[in-house]
Protein backbone atom coordinates (compact mmCIF):
# COMPACT_ATOMS: atom_id res chain seq x y z
CA UNK A 1 0.00 0.00 0.00
CA UNK A 2 2.91 2.26 0.79
CA UNK A 3 4.73 1.85 -2.47
CA UNK A 4 4.10 4.46 -5.09
CA UNK A 5 5.46 5.14 -8.48
CA UNK A 6 7.19 8.53 -8.43
CA UNK A 7 5.96 11.16 -10.86
CA UNK A 8 8.63 13.67 -11.83
CA UNK A 9 7.80 17.07 -13.19
CA UNK A 10 10.02 18.36 -15.96
CA UNK A 11 8.85 21.70 -17.19
CA UNK A 12 5.54 21.14 -18.84
CA UNK A 13 5.92 17.41 -18.82
CA UNK A 14 5.40 14.71 -16.28
CA UNK A 15 7.78 11.79 -16.30
CA UNK A 16 6.83 8.39 -14.90
CA UNK A 17 9.36 5.59 -14.83
CA UNK A 18 7.94 2.27 -13.85
CA UNK A 19 10.73 0.27 -12.27
CA UNK A 20 8.85 -2.26 -10.19
CA UNK A 21 6.49 -5.04 -11.15
CA UNK A 22 3.14 -3.48 -11.82
CA UNK A 23 0.38 -5.07 -9.87
CA UNK A 24 -3.21 -4.05 -10.18
CA UNK A 25 -3.48 -1.81 -7.14
CA UNK A 26 -0.25 -0.02 -7.98
CA UNK A 27 -1.59 0.65 -11.45
CA UNK A 28 -4.79 2.09 -10.05
CA UNK A 29 -2.80 4.29 -7.65
CA UNK A 30 -0.69 5.50 -10.54
CA UNK A 31 -3.78 6.36 -12.55
CA UNK A 32 -5.12 8.35 -9.57
CA UNK A 33 -1.88 10.17 -8.80
CA UNK A 34 -1.16 10.96 -12.40
CA UNK A 35 -4.53 12.49 -13.19
CA UNK A 36 -4.27 14.57 -10.00
CA UNK A 37 -0.77 15.75 -10.87
CA UNK A 38 -1.78 16.67 -14.40
CA UNK A 39 -4.52 18.95 -13.18
CA UNK A 40 -2.34 20.37 -10.36
CA UNK A 41 0.62 21.18 -12.55
CA UNK A 42 -1.17 21.98 -15.78
CA UNK A 43 1.14 19.53 -17.50
CA UNK A 44 0.91 19.40 -21.27
CA UNK A 45 2.49 16.02 -21.72
CA UNK A 46 3.01 12.72 -19.90
CA UNK A 47 5.85 10.34 -20.61
CA UNK A 48 5.62 6.83 -19.22
CA UNK A 49 8.78 4.77 -19.41
CA UNK A 50 8.11 1.04 -19.21
CA UNK A 51 11.51 -0.19 -20.37
CA UNK A 52 12.05 -2.00 -17.07
CA UNK A 53 8.75 -3.82 -17.39
CA UNK A 54 9.09 -7.27 -18.87
CA UNK A 55 5.61 -8.52 -18.24
CA UNK A 56 2.18 -6.99 -18.70
CA UNK A 57 -1.26 -8.48 -18.43
CA UNK A 58 -4.46 -7.31 -20.01
CA UNK A 59 -5.34 -5.24 -16.96
CA UNK A 60 -2.14 -3.21 -16.98
CA UNK A 61 -2.48 -2.82 -20.74
CA UNK A 62 -5.95 -1.43 -20.29
CA UNK A 63 -4.85 0.91 -17.49
CA UNK A 64 -2.16 2.32 -19.76
CA UNK A 65 -4.80 2.93 -22.42
CA UNK A 66 -7.10 4.54 -19.86
CA UNK A 67 -4.36 6.81 -18.56
CA UNK A 68 -3.79 8.03 -22.10
CA UNK A 69 -7.46 8.75 -22.61
CA UNK A 70 -7.80 10.53 -19.25
CA UNK A 71 -4.72 12.64 -19.94
CA UNK A 72 -6.15 13.60 -23.28
CA UNK A 73 -9.31 14.83 -21.59
CA UNK A 74 -7.12 16.83 -19.21
CA UNK A 75 -5.32 18.27 -22.25
CA UNK A 76 -2.07 16.36 -21.92
CA UNK A 77 -0.51 14.10 -24.54
CA UNK A 78 0.75 10.69 -23.42
CA UNK A 79 3.74 8.85 -24.78
CA UNK A 80 4.65 5.34 -23.69
CA UNK A 81 8.32 4.62 -24.30
CA UNK A 82 10.71 1.70 -24.15
CA UNK A 83 8.31 -1.19 -24.53
CA UNK A 84 10.13 -4.53 -24.61
CA UNK A 85 9.56 -6.76 -27.66
CA UNK A 86 8.08 -9.50 -25.50
CA UNK A 87 5.65 -7.03 -23.97
CA UNK A 88 4.63 -5.74 -27.39
CA UNK A 89 4.00 -9.30 -28.61
CA UNK A 90 1.99 -10.10 -25.49
CA UNK A 91 -0.20 -7.04 -25.88
CA UNK A 92 -0.82 -7.79 -29.56
CA UNK A 93 -1.69 -11.39 -28.77
CA UNK A 94 -4.07 -10.15 -26.09
CA UNK A 95 -5.72 -8.03 -28.74
CA UNK A 96 -4.73 -4.76 -27.07
CA UNK A 97 -3.35 -2.47 -29.72
CA UNK A 98 -3.49 0.62 -27.46
CA UNK A 99 -4.78 2.69 -30.33
CA UNK A 100 -4.94 6.04 -28.52
CA UNK A 101 -1.41 5.89 -27.17
CA UNK A 102 1.64 7.43 -28.77
CA UNK A 103 4.72 5.30 -28.50
CA UNK A 104 8.44 5.87 -28.86
CA UNK A 105 11.54 3.74 -28.59
CA UNK A 106 13.23 5.56 -25.73
CA UNK A 107 12.86 8.54 -23.42
CA UNK A 108 14.78 10.83 -25.74
CA UNK A 109 12.61 10.08 -28.74
CA UNK A 110 9.52 10.19 -26.57
CA UNK A 111 10.41 13.68 -25.42
CA UNK A 112 10.95 14.80 -29.00
CA UNK A 113 7.60 13.32 -29.94
CA UNK A 114 5.87 15.10 -27.05
CA UNK A 115 7.41 18.40 -28.02
CA UNK A 116 6.28 17.96 -31.58
CA UNK A 117 2.87 16.91 -30.41
CA UNK A 118 2.20 19.99 -28.40
CA UNK A 119 4.11 22.13 -30.90
CA UNK A 120 6.40 23.95 -28.54
CA UNK A 121 8.82 26.44 -29.99
CA UNK A 122 12.45 25.70 -29.14
CA UNK A 123 12.72 28.70 -26.76
CA UNK A 124 9.90 27.38 -24.66
CA UNK A 125 11.46 23.96 -24.33
CA UNK A 126 12.16 22.97 -20.77
CA UNK A 127 15.76 22.21 -20.07
CA UNK A 128 15.29 18.61 -19.19
CA UNK A 129 18.97 17.81 -18.81
CA UNK A 130 19.34 20.20 -15.92
CA UNK A 131 16.52 18.57 -14.05
CA UNK A 132 17.65 15.02 -14.57
Amino acid sequence: MDEKIPILKMGQFLLVTIQVDMHDRLAMTLQDDLTNRISQTNARGVLIDISALDMVDSFIGRILGNIAKMSKILDAETVVVGMQPAVAITLVELGLSLKGIRTALNVEKGMALLRRAIALTPEEMPDDRAEV
Binding site: M83, A88, T103
Partner: protein, 288 residues
Protein backbone atom coordinates in the same frame (compact mmCIF):
# COMPACT_ATOMS: atom_id res chain seq x y z
CA UNK B 1 1.09 -73.25 -47.41
CA UNK B 2 2.39 -76.56 -46.35
CA UNK B 3 5.46 -76.88 -44.20
CA UNK B 4 6.88 -79.08 -46.85
CA UNK B 5 6.64 -76.25 -49.39
CA UNK B 6 8.52 -73.84 -47.20
CA UNK B 7 11.48 -76.07 -46.78
CA UNK B 8 11.51 -76.66 -50.50
CA UNK B 9 12.21 -73.03 -51.29
CA UNK B 10 15.10 -72.68 -48.94
CA UNK B 11 16.36 -76.03 -50.18
CA UNK B 12 16.29 -74.84 -53.76
CA UNK B 13 17.92 -71.58 -52.81
CA UNK B 14 20.74 -73.42 -51.12
CA UNK B 15 21.17 -75.99 -53.82
CA UNK B 16 21.23 -73.67 -56.80
CA UNK B 17 22.63 -70.60 -55.08
CA UNK B 18 25.31 -69.73 -57.60
CA UNK B 19 23.07 -70.39 -60.62
CA UNK B 20 20.25 -68.36 -59.12
CA UNK B 21 22.64 -65.57 -58.25
CA UNK B 22 24.02 -65.42 -61.79
CA UNK B 23 20.56 -65.44 -63.33
CA UNK B 24 19.33 -62.82 -60.89
CA UNK B 25 22.27 -60.48 -61.48
CA UNK B 26 21.89 -60.73 -65.23
CA UNK B 27 18.17 -60.08 -64.82
CA UNK B 28 18.95 -56.98 -62.78
CA UNK B 29 21.52 -55.83 -65.30
CA UNK B 30 19.02 -55.99 -68.15
CA UNK B 31 16.31 -54.31 -66.10
CA UNK B 32 18.58 -51.59 -64.86
CA UNK B 33 18.72 -48.45 -66.95
CA UNK B 34 21.53 -46.99 -64.92
CA UNK B 35 24.40 -49.30 -65.61
CA UNK B 36 26.73 -46.42 -64.95
CA UNK B 37 25.69 -45.69 -61.38
CA UNK B 38 25.57 -49.28 -60.18
CA UNK B 39 28.51 -51.53 -60.98
CA UNK B 40 28.00 -55.19 -61.61
CA UNK B 41 30.44 -56.25 -58.92
CA UNK B 42 28.65 -54.15 -56.41
CA UNK B 43 25.32 -55.54 -57.48
CA UNK B 44 26.59 -59.11 -57.34
CA UNK B 45 27.91 -58.56 -53.85
CA UNK B 46 24.62 -57.06 -52.68
CA UNK B 47 22.63 -59.85 -54.26
CA UNK B 48 24.83 -62.54 -52.79
CA UNK B 49 24.55 -61.06 -49.32
CA UNK B 50 20.80 -60.74 -49.70
CA UNK B 51 20.39 -64.37 -50.78
CA UNK B 52 22.38 -65.50 -47.78
CA UNK B 53 20.21 -63.52 -45.41
CA UNK B 54 17.08 -64.71 -47.20
CA UNK B 55 18.07 -68.34 -46.82
CA UNK B 56 18.86 -67.79 -43.15
CA UNK B 57 15.47 -66.21 -42.60
CA UNK B 58 13.66 -68.90 -44.60
CA UNK B 59 15.30 -71.61 -42.51
CA UNK B 60 13.31 -70.37 -39.55
CA UNK B 61 10.23 -71.44 -41.47
CA UNK B 62 8.30 -68.19 -41.41
CA UNK B 63 7.19 -67.14 -44.86
CA UNK B 64 4.17 -65.03 -44.13
CA UNK B 65 5.22 -62.30 -41.72
CA UNK B 66 8.34 -60.30 -42.51
CA UNK B 67 7.95 -58.02 -39.52
CA UNK B 68 9.22 -60.66 -37.08
CA UNK B 69 12.66 -60.78 -35.55
CA UNK B 70 14.05 -63.53 -37.80
CA UNK B 71 13.54 -61.22 -40.77
CA UNK B 72 15.32 -58.31 -39.17
CA UNK B 73 18.69 -58.86 -40.94
CA UNK B 74 16.84 -58.98 -44.27
CA UNK B 75 14.88 -55.85 -43.48
CA UNK B 76 17.99 -54.00 -42.38
CA UNK B 77 19.87 -55.01 -45.47
CA UNK B 78 16.97 -53.96 -47.71
CA UNK B 79 16.60 -50.65 -45.96
CA UNK B 80 20.28 -49.85 -46.38
CA UNK B 81 20.07 -50.75 -50.08
CA UNK B 82 16.93 -48.65 -50.55
CA UNK B 83 18.45 -45.72 -48.73
CA UNK B 84 21.57 -45.93 -50.81
CA UNK B 85 19.66 -46.11 -54.08
CA UNK B 86 17.31 -43.34 -53.07
CA UNK B 87 20.28 -41.07 -52.39
CA UNK B 88 21.69 -41.99 -55.78
CA UNK B 89 18.48 -40.73 -57.36
CA UNK B 90 16.85 -44.05 -58.27
CA UNK B 91 13.10 -44.14 -58.77
CA UNK B 92 10.99 -46.37 -56.50
CA UNK B 93 10.46 -48.74 -59.45
CA UNK B 94 14.17 -49.12 -60.01
CA UNK B 95 14.71 -49.74 -56.32
CA UNK B 96 11.99 -52.37 -56.13
CA UNK B 97 13.33 -54.05 -59.26
CA UNK B 98 16.14 -55.36 -57.07
CA UNK B 99 13.63 -57.67 -55.38
CA UNK B 100 11.20 -58.29 -58.20
CA UNK B 101 13.86 -59.41 -60.65
CA UNK B 102 14.53 -62.38 -58.37
CA UNK B 103 11.12 -63.78 -59.26
CA UNK B 104 11.95 -64.89 -62.78
CA UNK B 105 15.02 -67.05 -62.00
CA UNK B 106 13.39 -68.45 -58.88
CA UNK B 107 10.18 -69.40 -60.67
CA UNK B 108 12.07 -71.02 -63.51
CA UNK B 109 14.04 -73.05 -61.03
CA UNK B 110 10.92 -74.02 -59.09
CA UNK B 111 9.01 -75.16 -62.14
CA UNK B 112 11.87 -77.35 -63.31
CA UNK B 113 12.26 -78.83 -59.83
CA UNK B 114 8.57 -79.49 -59.31
CA UNK B 115 7.63 -80.23 -62.89
CA UNK B 116 5.79 -83.42 -61.93
CA UNK B 117 3.82 -81.95 -59.06
CA UNK B 118 1.79 -79.04 -60.33
CA UNK B 119 -0.21 -78.72 -57.10
CA UNK B 120 2.78 -77.99 -54.89
CA UNK B 121 4.35 -75.92 -57.69
CA UNK B 122 1.43 -73.52 -57.58
CA UNK B 123 1.64 -73.36 -53.83
CA UNK B 124 5.36 -72.72 -53.88
CA UNK B 125 5.06 -70.00 -56.48
CA UNK B 126 2.23 -68.39 -54.56
CA UNK B 127 4.13 -68.27 -51.28
CA UNK B 128 7.38 -67.08 -52.87
CA UNK B 129 5.53 -64.47 -54.86
CA UNK B 130 3.73 -63.15 -51.77
CA UNK B 131 6.98 -63.01 -49.87
CA UNK B 132 8.86 -61.20 -52.60
CA UNK B 133 5.98 -58.76 -53.04
CA UNK B 134 6.17 -57.90 -49.37
CA UNK B 135 9.90 -57.39 -49.54
CA UNK B 136 9.51 -55.30 -52.68
CA UNK B 137 6.90 -53.12 -51.03
CA UNK B 138 9.24 -52.71 -48.10
CA UNK B 139 11.91 -51.26 -50.36
CA UNK B 140 9.38 -48.85 -51.85
CA UNK B 141 8.27 -47.82 -48.41
CA UNK B 142 11.79 -47.14 -47.27
CA UNK B 143 12.49 -45.29 -50.48
CA UNK B 144 9.49 -43.11 -49.79
CA UNK B 145 10.57 -42.53 -46.21
CA UNK B 146 14.00 -41.37 -47.30
CA UNK B 147 12.39 -38.90 -49.68
CA UNK B 148 10.12 -37.64 -46.94
CA UNK B 149 13.12 -37.12 -44.68
CA UNK B 150 14.69 -34.99 -47.39
CA UNK B 151 11.53 -32.91 -47.72
CA UNK B 152 11.30 -32.46 -43.98
CA UNK B 153 14.91 -31.36 -43.73
CA UNK B 154 14.45 -28.88 -46.53
CA UNK B 155 11.38 -27.47 -44.84
CA UNK B 156 13.37 -26.92 -41.69
CA UNK B 157 16.19 -25.30 -43.59
CA UNK B 158 13.72 -23.03 -45.32
CA UNK B 159 12.39 -22.01 -41.95
CA UNK B 160 15.88 -21.22 -40.75
CA UNK B 161 16.62 -19.14 -43.82
CA UNK B 162 13.55 -17.24 -42.78
CA UNK B 163 13.65 -13.51 -43.02
CA UNK B 164 16.54 -11.17 -42.44
CA UNK B 165 15.92 -7.72 -41.07
CA UNK B 166 17.87 -5.27 -43.20
CA UNK B 167 19.01 -1.86 -42.13
CA UNK B 168 18.40 0.50 -45.04
CA UNK B 169 19.38 3.76 -43.42
CA UNK B 170 20.07 5.11 -40.01
CA UNK B 171 16.68 4.67 -38.39
CA UNK B 172 15.07 2.73 -41.22
CA UNK B 173 14.72 -1.05 -41.23
CA UNK B 174 13.37 -3.24 -44.01
CA UNK B 175 11.86 -6.68 -43.71
CA UNK B 176 11.59 -8.35 -47.11
CA UNK B 177 9.29 -11.31 -46.69
CA UNK B 178 9.62 -14.09 -49.26
CA UNK B 179 7.34 -17.11 -49.29
CA UNK B 180 4.21 -17.97 -47.40
CA UNK B 181 3.68 -16.55 -43.94
CA UNK B 182 2.42 -19.08 -41.43
CA UNK B 183 1.98 -18.70 -37.70
CA UNK B 184 5.32 -20.26 -36.84
CA UNK B 185 7.23 -18.11 -39.21
CA UNK B 186 5.43 -14.90 -38.33
CA UNK B 187 6.29 -15.39 -34.69
CA UNK B 188 9.98 -15.66 -35.52
CA UNK B 189 9.85 -12.78 -37.96
CA UNK B 190 8.04 -10.58 -35.47
CA UNK B 191 10.52 -11.34 -32.72
CA UNK B 192 13.59 -10.69 -34.84
CA UNK B 193 12.09 -7.45 -36.15
CA UNK B 194 11.28 -6.17 -32.67
CA UNK B 195 14.71 -7.13 -31.36
CA UNK B 196 16.28 -5.29 -34.25
CA UNK B 197 14.17 -2.20 -33.59
CA UNK B 198 15.46 -2.10 -30.02
CA UNK B 199 19.01 -2.73 -31.18
CA UNK B 200 19.14 -0.07 -33.88
CA UNK B 201 16.65 2.42 -32.49
CA UNK B 202 14.87 2.48 -35.83
CA UNK B 203 11.88 4.75 -36.16
CA UNK B 204 10.50 3.41 -39.40
CA UNK B 205 10.18 -0.17 -40.57
CA UNK B 206 9.25 -1.23 -44.07
CA UNK B 207 7.65 -4.64 -44.50
CA UNK B 208 7.97 -5.64 -48.13
CA UNK B 209 5.66 -8.46 -49.21
CA UNK B 210 6.55 -8.55 -52.91
CA UNK B 211 7.71 -12.13 -52.39
CA UNK B 212 4.56 -13.33 -50.66
CA UNK B 213 2.58 -15.36 -53.20
CA UNK B 214 -0.81 -15.39 -51.52
CA UNK B 215 -2.47 -13.79 -48.56
CA UNK B 216 -5.28 -15.31 -46.56
CA UNK B 217 -7.05 -13.95 -43.50
CA UNK B 218 -4.52 -15.56 -41.21
CA UNK B 219 -1.55 -14.09 -43.05
CA UNK B 220 -3.17 -10.67 -43.09
CA UNK B 221 -3.79 -10.94 -39.38
CA UNK B 222 -0.18 -11.90 -38.77
CA UNK B 223 0.94 -8.88 -40.74
CA UNK B 224 -1.33 -6.60 -38.77
CA UNK B 225 -0.05 -8.05 -35.52
CA UNK B 226 3.53 -7.37 -36.54
CA UNK B 227 2.65 -3.80 -37.51
CA UNK B 228 0.84 -3.22 -34.23
CA UNK B 229 3.64 -4.68 -32.14
CA UNK B 230 6.18 -2.46 -33.89
CA UNK B 231 3.96 0.54 -33.34
CA UNK B 232 3.65 -0.29 -29.64
CA UNK B 233 7.41 -0.13 -29.42
CA UNK B 234 7.42 3.24 -31.08
CA UNK B 235 8.33 2.39 -34.65
CA UNK B 236 6.17 3.20 -37.65
CA UNK B 237 5.45 0.46 -40.14
CA UNK B 238 4.98 0.76 -43.86
CA UNK B 239 3.82 -2.21 -45.92
CA UNK B 240 5.05 -2.21 -49.49
CA UNK B 241 4.88 -4.45 -52.53
CA UNK B 242 1.25 -5.48 -52.28
CA UNK B 243 0.38 -7.08 -55.60
CA UNK B 244 -2.92 -6.36 -57.34
CA UNK B 245 -4.27 -9.84 -56.69
CA UNK B 246 -3.35 -9.58 -53.04
CA UNK B 247 -5.04 -6.19 -52.77
CA UNK B 248 -8.17 -7.75 -54.23
CA UNK B 249 -7.99 -10.69 -51.85
CA UNK B 250 -7.52 -8.42 -48.84
CA UNK B 251 -10.60 -6.38 -49.72
CA UNK B 252 -12.71 -9.45 -50.45
CA UNK B 253 -11.64 -11.02 -47.18
CA UNK B 254 -12.75 -7.89 -45.37
CA UNK B 255 -9.38 -7.29 -43.73
CA UNK B 256 -9.05 -3.72 -42.54
CA UNK B 257 -5.69 -2.27 -43.51
CA UNK B 258 -6.91 1.30 -43.06
CA UNK B 259 -4.62 2.01 -40.12
CA UNK B 260 -1.55 0.81 -41.96
CA UNK B 261 0.45 2.89 -44.40
CA UNK B 262 0.83 1.00 -47.66
CA UNK B 263 3.05 1.86 -50.60
CA UNK B 264 3.29 0.26 -54.02
CA UNK B 265 7.01 -0.42 -54.08
CA UNK B 266 9.87 -0.64 -51.64
CA UNK B 267 11.31 2.50 -53.28
CA UNK B 268 8.17 4.52 -52.52
CA UNK B 269 8.14 3.23 -48.98
CA UNK B 270 11.80 4.13 -48.57
CA UNK B 271 11.16 7.67 -49.84
CA UNK B 272 8.36 8.07 -47.29
CA UNK B 273 10.52 6.62 -44.54
CA UNK B 274 13.28 9.11 -45.33
CA UNK B 275 10.77 11.93 -45.14
CA UNK B 276 9.58 10.62 -41.78
CA UNK B 277 13.04 10.73 -40.26
CA UNK B 278 13.71 14.10 -41.84
CA UNK B 279 16.30 13.00 -44.36
CA UNK B 280 16.35 13.30 -48.11
CA UNK B 281 18.38 12.06 -51.03
CA UNK B 282 19.27 14.42 -53.85
CA UNK B 283 20.74 13.81 -57.26
CA UNK B 284 24.06 15.51 -57.83
CA UNK B 285 23.97 15.29 -61.58
CA UNK B 286 20.96 15.46 -63.84
CA UNK B 287 19.94 12.17 -65.32
CA UNK B 288 20.95 11.65 -68.93
Amino acid sequence: MSLNGQSKISEILKKYRSELLAAWVSEQMTASIRKDSLKEIEMREESREFLELLVAALDRGNLTDIQTSEWRPVREMLSSISRDRSHKGFTPTETATFIFSLKQPLFTRLSSELADDSQSLIQEIWSVSTLLDKLGLLTTEIHQKVREEVIFRQQEELMELSTPVVKLWDGILALPIIGTLDSNRTQGVMESLLEKIVETGAEVTIIDITGVPTVDTLTAQHLLKTVTAARLMGADCIISGIRPQIAQTIVYLGVDLADVITKATLADAFALALKRIGASITRNQPRN
